[in-house]
């Protein structure tokens, strides 16, 4: 197999790479060695923050509109409001427009 990056490949080479990947990955799981797997598993559990919910915002007609970045988000989002248990989080834009960070 070529040492080329996919960014350096032409379309035919890329197709060849993907055809080969489909053929071998259909046969078996990723070949992540057991010691590496254990290391990554415990690292993940130790570093994990409790829960992350990703929202994305857009300004539409001057109003902030939030939406879950992923499906199956355990919070409700309506316009610029986030409903979280007994809490209603209201997010507004300062001076009605996005401020540079």
């Amino acid at each position: 197999m070529s040492e080329k990056q996919w960014t350096e490949m032409d379309y035919a080479e890329f197709q060849e790479l993907m055809d080969a990947y489909i053929a071998h990955s259909s046969q078996q799981d990723d070949a992540i060695p057991a010691p590496t797997f254990l290391e990554l598993l415990f690292d993940a559990l130790l570093q994990r923050v409790p829960n992350v919910i990703r929202l994305e915002g857009q300004v539409i007609n001057g109003e902030l509109v939030l939406a879950p970045a992923e499906e199956d988000t355990p919070v409700q989002v309506r316009g610029n409001q986030i409903l979280l248990g007994d809490w209603r989080v209201i997010v507004t834009l300062r001076n009605g427009e996005l401020q540079p960070a």
């Binding site: 996919w6 990955s25 990723d30 992540i32 057991a34 010691p35 990554l40 415990f42 992923e70």
Partner: protein, 272 residues
């Protein structure tokens, strides 16, 4: 069309992704971490077209999962021999991804960034398809072994997303391939009592094991030997207690776990 890849996805991620696609057996430990990190970053990459905008994750769900998951699972469940027959089925569905995305205008030969979206879709499809093939294999094996358990109906899209794949001895469990297991651990921790997975130990060797929380193993047996991560393969099939700071997991080989579960279930029946 415009594709926006987050700046956090660097040339190193591209490099490791290409090498993973070519031959994942050559990746070193740190490169696996880099690969998973890169894939996670791509979740948030965006595709902007005339008809709207979506992240790679959203578009994968819309164009791949929603269109193919249920029909794949129905075909999978109809197979007699999952281990022997599922690779052809997995490949058949994976090969449908390119024409489907091309038809949707999301994979274009002359727009190389769309190749990255196609790669992302194939990566997750293969993990999804292999994951369920593994789950069905385990479910059938437990049934054939006489273990009493409840398992969710994977044909039902709602039930498929249930928090646990199965319940055994009132313990909730999941059957996960290693990739999904790691993704779950980093995104949600390990909410269930046990996880059946398989470890690659080199060559063609895959070892079926069960990771359990200590309380779950207490209910089944409780006996363990203490071990370090590097000792696990040497200590199995004995139940091994692995501890890193506050995280404690008991790992046991699958056949032994199944035997101990059956012993508890038979004892419960005798007591009744």
């Amino acid at each position: 069309m415009r594709i926006v890849i987050p700046g956090a996805f660097t040339a190193r991620h591209q490099d490791v992704l290409t090498r993973y696609l070519a031959d994942d057996r050559l990746l070193r430990s740190a490169e696996w971490q880099l690969l998973y990190q890169g894939i996670d970053i791509l979740d948030a990459a965006r595709v902007q077209t005339d008809v709207g905008t979506g992240t790679f994750r959203q578009l994968y769900h819309r164009h791949i999962d929603a269109c193919s998951a249920t029909s794949y699972l129905e075909r999978l469940l109809a197979l007699e021999d999952i281990k022997a027959q599922s690779p052809a089925l997995i490949a058949e569905f994976a090969r449908r991804i390119a024409p489907h995305l091309q038809q949707a205008g999301l994979f274009l030969p002359d727009v190389p960034l769309t190749w990255l979206f196609y790669t992302y879709c194939v990566y997750w499809w293969q993990n999804f398809a292999r994951g369920y093939a593994f789950e069905v294999q385990i479910v059938r094996d437990l049934r054939a072994s006489g273990v009493e358990f409840y398992s969710h109906d994977i044909r039902d899209p709602v039930e498929r997303r249930s928090a646990a794949d199965m319940v055994v001895l009132n313990l909730t469990g999941d059957v996960k391939t290693s990739t999904y297991f790691l993704r779950l651990a980093s995104s949600r921790g390990l909410p269930n009592d046990f996880y059946v997975t398989r470890l690659w130990t080199g060559g063609q060797r895959r070892l079926l094991v069960v990771f359990q929380k200590p309380a779950a193993w207490e209910k089944i047996d409780g006996d363990t030997v203490e071990g370090r991560l590097s000792d696990l393969l040497r200590l199995l099939p004995r139940p091994v207690k692995l501890r890193q700071d506050d995280v404690v997991l008991i790992v046991i080989d699958y056949a032994t776990w199944k035997r101990r579960v059956l012993q508890v279930q038979w004892k419960e029946q005798d007591d009744e």
